[in-house]
């Protein structure tokens, strides 16, 4: 590993000042240190934010919940309020990583983890995300795990988080503190599509510190998180779906759907949800939703199967959430 400076931030302002002048935040470190060992991340300085006071899960006056950015994934999954009111978030967290990693990985860090594209990780291979202008090895290469939606001719990487998919379906917002103060933005506006700047994962500026994630009151209805992967545990999603579905008097009254494993960011498509609202749950209605979701889907060869897999997983998740026989 290359040499770097290390300092522990005593306050959030310390961290933001250091971040604005080029230091990288480290908290759990499970992704950043991994990438530093393979020389993909090369920070000159680390500022350790691990002991800042962002460790609480608090009920909000509006009936929602505020999750400190440093709450470990394991604690968040097990938190009584999350388990009872937002079970799809618990389920998503528990579907990710291993027990050891969940004990260390934080809420903010999970959102900011980087892709597990093999080309991104291997310095001997081209990658526009790692080395802009070097090309994309995955296009025309090995691309079984890659994106079928929203990709560009520069990058077809996917976002690896399960937690972020669940939070997107739950209409999460993030509290970001930067040099100009604190602002709250929808989680949907955090992650970017690759376009011609795949080296930029998010819309945060240097020094922007995620302090918390807030969730509105629980959506009601039935919540489901389903993850399809190559082995039963400790693997990234090929396709994952977070669903919150409310059926009233036999008709779908509300649908929130977010998708993992399909795109450069957790994916949500309002048209798919609108197409379901007002429909009676049926395989035909669910397939029409899948048609909309996948209208622009494009396989890259090895990942062509994801188009059918996403359709079948969506139909199965909607059946489960609607209480229909599987």
């Amino acid at each position: 590993m290359r040499a770097f400076g290390y300092a522990r931030a005593a306050t959030a302002d310390d961290a933001i000042d250091a971040g604005a002048t080029g230091a990288r935040f480290i908290a759990g470190g499970t992704n950043l240190l991994d990438l530093m060992k393979v020389d993909v991340e090369r920070p000159d300085r680390l500022v350790d934010i691990g002991r800042l006071p962002f460790t609480k899960v608090e009920d909000q006056a509006d009936g929602g919940v505020r999750i400190g950015a440093l709450v470990p994934n394991s604690d968040l999954a097990a938190h009584p309020r999350i388990r009872r009111a937002y079970p799809l978030l618990s389920r998503a967290l528990l579907a990710g990583a291993s027990g050891q990693l969940r004990n260390k990985a934080t809420t903010g860090g999970n959102l900011l983890q980087r892709t597990r594209c093999y080309y991104f990780y291997d310095r001997a291979l081209p990658c526009n995300k790692r080395d802009p202008g070097s090309g994309c090895g995955a296009i025309g290469g090995f691309n079984r795990i890659h994106a079928i939606l929203g990709a560009s001719d520069q990058c077809i990487a996917t976002h690896p988080s399960d937690m972020a998919v669940a939070m997107l379906a739950l209409d999460a917002r993030i509290e970001v503190r930067g040099s100009d103060g604190t602002r709250t933005i929808p989680l949907a506006e955090l992650h970017r599509l690759p376009g011609d700047t795949p080296h930029i994962d998010t819309n945060l500026a240097p020094g922007d510190l995620i302090e918390a994630v807030t969730l509105p009151p629980p959506p009601g209805g039935t919540q489901v998180y389903r993850k399809v992967r190559d082995r039963a545990s400790y693997a990234f999603a090929l396709v994952s779906i977070a669903a919150a579905l409310t059926v009233e008097q036999g008709v779908i009254a509300r649908a929130a759907l977010a998708f993992g494993g399909l795109a450069h960011r957790p994916w949500r498509d309002p048209a798919v949800e609108q197409a379901l609202v007002g429909e009676r749950p049926s395989t035909a209605a669910f397939n029409r939703a899948a048609d909309l979701l996948l209208a622009e889907a494009r396989g890259q060869g090895h990942n062509d199967f994801k188009i059918d897999l996403a359709r079948r997983t969506l139909v199965a998740v909607l059946r489960e959430a609607a209480g229909a026989p599987q």
């Binding site: 770097f4 991994d34 680390l46 618990s90 389920r91 528990l94 579907a95 027990g99 990693l101 400790y234």
Partner: protein
């Protein structure tokens, strides 16, 4: 000056290269070679230790990030003359072949049973509120510990034996 406690002994980190992982501190500088370096990327679990009672991968964290923390390694779990019940159970059930993953398996299993005792659910839990411990739960919760000799059936047997009382506790 930063320091941490390792198996109850205070250790100062004077002049440490900040790149030193907690695992390398334990193995290379403190001579505690029970914790093993397998992949060095958090994938195999051979380096699993307990930090403030929680199981983590010692390879994916820097020693300097642990000022004031209490570290327990396999050397602090038990001794040949006074084995921890989990060590005894691994012996009884022959929960290993080459033994390289075993310190990590044992530390992980101890941390994992504490998580169950606190009522934490897992991906294998049908009900997030009421945790029933069975082989599927043990396998899921131990998926961060690989055993290339594939002693998994006996590892699960060993953990199930120790889990007995913990599994009957009520969730938090």
């Amino acid at each position: 000056m930063p320091s941490l406690s390792v198996n109850g002994v205070e250790r100062r980190l004077d002049g440490i290269d900040v790149r030193t992982s907690l695992l390398d501190l334990l193995r290379e500088q403190l001579g505690l070679t029970g914790s093993k370096k397998g992949c060095d990327h958090g994938q195999c679990g051979a380096c699993t230790i307990l930090v403030n009672g929680r199981r983590i991968n010692a390879c994916l964290t820097l020693a300097v990030m642990h000022d004031g923390d209490e570290i327990v390694t396999i050397e602090g779990i038990g001794t040949p003359d006074a084995l921890h019940p989990m060590q005894q159970a691994f012996l009884h059930h022959d929960g290993f072949q080459c033994g390289y993953c075993t310190p990590g398996q044992i530390c992980s299993a101890i941390g994992m049973l504490d998580e169950i005792a606190r009522g934490w659910p897992s991906h294998a839990s049908a009900d997030l509120e009421n945790i029933a411990i069975d082989d599927a739960e043990i396998s899921e919760r131990m998926s961060g510990n690989l055993c290339r000799c594939s002693a998994y059936p006996n590892i699960v047997d060993a953990i199930r034996e120790v889990a007995g009382p913990a599994s009957r506790r009520e969730p938090a």
